[in-house]
């Protein structure tokens, strides 16, 4: 058989398919359209996001064949997938890690587009469909967390429900719509299942289609150069001319970078998934198991952090209004500025804004992870008292150390770096507060501390104040001496000091008033 005949054999069915479908005519411009020569490594993040989305669909469909979307079985079915199905754990790990990777890539992609001013004319709708894609992906992440149906999922829904419940007038109805009833139960999981596997992926696929169509229509933006300003009336003509003259075909010239980057991402993903394994499921979704410490997944940790830092008086308003305002601002970005300079160096204010937003999200995420506002629930029973705080103490003072643990003070106060961070660390409390002040603070509370007056008898109070009054560095005087906050040349061994020396000095003079 000669070469010509072989080509004919291959060509014929291809031509038949092309004749009936037009698939080649349709896809050729998708691959060969010209993109700016300057589109280099900055432009790979959108492709990576799309790759992770594809992985989500494939692994999600696979998981859908085994997952039981029922509140009574979901948790067990995940355990079954993890432990009994061959490589089931790997599939769940891929789905979980790829979801995180998609959120990260999307954020980087968005940041790049913002910093390069690529949202300006004529790509306003590229940006806006991107914003809706971001919201859809975050919704997928939240509903995906619910699919785990563990304690975090249950109480995470509780937090969501409590926020929705604060909506004025319709809060109750909206909460019922969200939960599918008056409690978190079977219908809740199934509602979120329908969202997670039908509605949101459908919306995401549609939005990706529109997003890509817009890219084809408007072209990929060039790397911004200072001085090359966007003028809507002349931009298209100039862009088309430049593409004609100096553009390169997307495939393979630009696509090869996407392929390299996506390849690296994919291999990293598989390694991460194989090494760290799937996310959860955590504890059984039994709301009577209350020894739990509910935390959201990472994409929402900054929100978890933010809601703990809001002032209680305006909390509800901020919780309900800020998402609406935030989304409105994101949508409005291309309308606020759709022409002019694109280069970061000519838009310093926008760069500062971007840096600020990123830093705020990172800082709030860190706050959420460390949760310094949360009591360490087992601090009182699990943490030892560091030896330097009991060494050489009198029995009364040591009794105070016991009361200090017993009354759960440690849940909110650190000693020697261990304990809650809700209140101040008490390692050096005696340099700041006199025994009288300590008595008042413990009895009456205040400054976000409960009053313990009713729960400690006078012997316990004497002991605890005796203990706390010894808590200061050996070379610093206690707060009963005026000006004690200044380093004083008193180097007396701490252990020999009576905790009650100098109580006659008025507390106010001692300048040891708590900063709270």
């Amino acid at each position: 058989m000669n070469r010509e005949a072989l080509i004919q054999i291959v060509k014929q069915p291809v031509q038949w398919i092309e004749d009936r479908t037009g698939v080649i005519a349709f896809s050729t411009p998708l691959l060969s359209h010209h993109v700016p020569r300057s589109a280099k490594w900055w432009y790979v993040f959108g492709s990576a996001t799309l790759m992770f989305f594809t992985i989500q669909i494939v692994t999600g469909v696979c998981l859908g064949t085994m997952y039981a979307p029922s509140a009574s079985n979901a948790w067990e079915s995940l355990r079954y997938i993890d432990e009994e199905i061959p490589l089931g754990w790997m599939l769940r790990a891929l789905h979980g890690w790829s979801s995180s990777a998609m959120v990260v890539m999307m954020a980087i992609h968005m940041l790049q587009v913002f910093m390069h001013g690529s949202f300006k004319f004529p790509r306003e709708l590229n940006w806006i469909t991107g914003v809706f894609l971001l919201l859809t992906v975050l919704a997928l992440a939240f509903t995906g967390q619910v699919m785990r149906w563990d304690q975090d999922a249950y109480w995470g829904l509780g937090i969501g429900a409590a926020i929705v419940d604060r909506v004025p007038v319709f809060g109750d109805q909206m909460r019922a719509l969200m939960l599918g009833g008056p409690i978190i139960g079977g219908e809740t999981l199934n509602r979120f299942f329908a969202l997670h596997v039908f509605i949101l992926p459908g919306a995401a696929i549609g939005l990706v289609g529109v997003h890509m169509t817009l890219i084809m229509k408007n072209g990929i933006s060039e790397m911004p150069k200072p001085g090359e300003i966007v003028v809507p009336s002349t931009y298209r003509k100039g862009f088309e001319e430049r593409m004609e003259k100096s553009g390169v075909p997307f495939f393979p010239d630009a696509a090869q970078r996407d392929m390299v980057f996506c390849g690296v991402c994919l291999i990293l993903l598989v390694f991460l998934a194989a090494y760290y394994g799937p996310f959860g499921p955590g504890g059984m979704p039994d709301p009577t198991l209350i020894n739990t410490n509910p935390r959201p997944d990472y994409p929402f940790m900054w929100i978890f952090g933010a809601v703990s830092l809001l002032p209680p008086a305006s909390e509800t308003a901020i919780m309900l209004i800020s998402p609406v305002v935030g989304i409105a601002i994101l949508v409005a970005v291309p309308f606020l500025s759709n022409s002019g300079e694109r280069a970061p160096s000519r838009r310093p204010g926008m760069m500062l804004l971007a840096v600020f937003v990123v830093m705020a999200i990172v800082a709030l995420t860190w706050e959420g992870v460390t949760s310094p506002w949360s009591p360490v629930m087992d601090g009182w029973s699990a943490l030892p008292t560091p030896t330097q705080f009991v060494k050489g103490r009198t029995p009364l003072q040591m009794q105070g150390a016991v009361v200090f643990q017993y009354a759960q003070c440690r849940n909110c106060h650190e000693l020697g770096g261990f304990g809650g961070k809700r209140g101040p660390a008490l390692d050096e409390i005696a340099t700041r507060m006199s025994p009288d002040q300590i008595v008042r603070q413990v009895q009456q509370g205040g400054g976000n501390m409960p009053a313990f007056g009713k729960n400690l008898n006078s012997a316990q109070m004497t002991a605890i104040v005796g203990f706390l009054s010894t808590l200061r560095p050996a070379n610093e005087a206690d707060s009963t001496i005026p000006g004690a906050q200044l380093p004083l040349p008193i180097k007396s061994p701490l252990v020999l000091e009576s905790p009650f020396t100098g109580t006659g000095v008025p507390a106010e003079i001692s300048a040891g008033v708590s900063s709270r």
Binding site: F26, S70, A71, S72, N73, A74, W75, Y154, W155, G158, I159, A161, A162, I163, D165, G171, D172, M174, R175, A176, L177, L179, G180, G181, P182, I183, G185, G186, E187, T188, L189, T213, P285, D286, P287, T288, I290, N291, T292, P294, F304, S308, P312, E315, T316, S371, W373, S374, P375, M377, Y406, A407, Q408, N411, C412, G445, P450, A451, F452, N455
Partner: protein, 196 residues
């Protein structure tokens, strides 16, 4: 005759429709010829039929989706066991099956609460949910405080707010004692507008 004209109209209409749907070729609807009164009528008639059918079909669909928001779920009196389980002056953990539940709820239908016996015959029953964002609060007998692990809400033993972000005290169930048993009025997840 009428069959013929119908067939013709259908053919033309279809050609326009199918093209518009696929390939992004931008197929445009054929202009409705104003002189063709029958076709104009058929178009309106078809639109009307679809509209009526759509509304009829939408009623159950929309009703199904928004049903939970419209339903009035009723709390019921739930038995928490003999009052002797709750010694005077103490706060004890109690669980019950939610009276509002569905067959697929599984463990989620279980509910926990804190029962405080103030003195013999006088109780306070607190919802497990923190008034801030609903996380489960834990009782600490030694300091007589409830603490929340999420954002650090703290409550005194009588449920009043002691510290942290909660805007109010713990939610309380209505209770009564009947035949030596403690009953609470339970069901709905507590929310800020109500006291369970």
């Amino acid at each position: 005759m009428s069959d013929d004209s119908k067939g013709e109209a259908k053919k033309e209409g279809c050609a326009g429709c199918d093209c518009g749907g696929g390939g992004g070729a931008g197929g445009s609807l054929p202009p409705v010829a104003p002189q063709d009164a029958r076709r104009g009528f058929m178009f309106k008639f078809g639109a009307g039929l679809l509209g009526i059918g759509g509304i009829l079909a939408a009623v159950p669909i929309v009703g199904y989706i928004i049903g939970p928001a419209r339903s009035r779920y009723r709390n019921e009196w739930v038995d928490l066991g003999a009052t002797t389980l709750y010694p005077s002056g103490q706060t004890r953990f109690a669980t019950f099956l939610n009276p509002i539940r569905q067959p697929t709820d599984g463990d989620a239908a279980k509910t926990a609460c804190w029962v405080r016996c103030v003195e013999a015959g006088k109780f306070q029953v607190f919802a497990i949910n923190c008034a801030h964002l609903g996380c489960p609060v834990r009782w600490f007998e030694q300091s007589k405080l409830f603490m929340c692990p999420c954002h650090g809400g703290v409550y005194y033993q009588d449920g009043t707010r002691a510290a942290g972000p909660p805007p109010r005290g713990l939610f309380e169930y209505k209770w009564k004692v009947e035949g030596g048993k403690l009953l609470i009025d339970a069901g709905r997840l507590p929310g800020l507008e109500e006291s369970v």
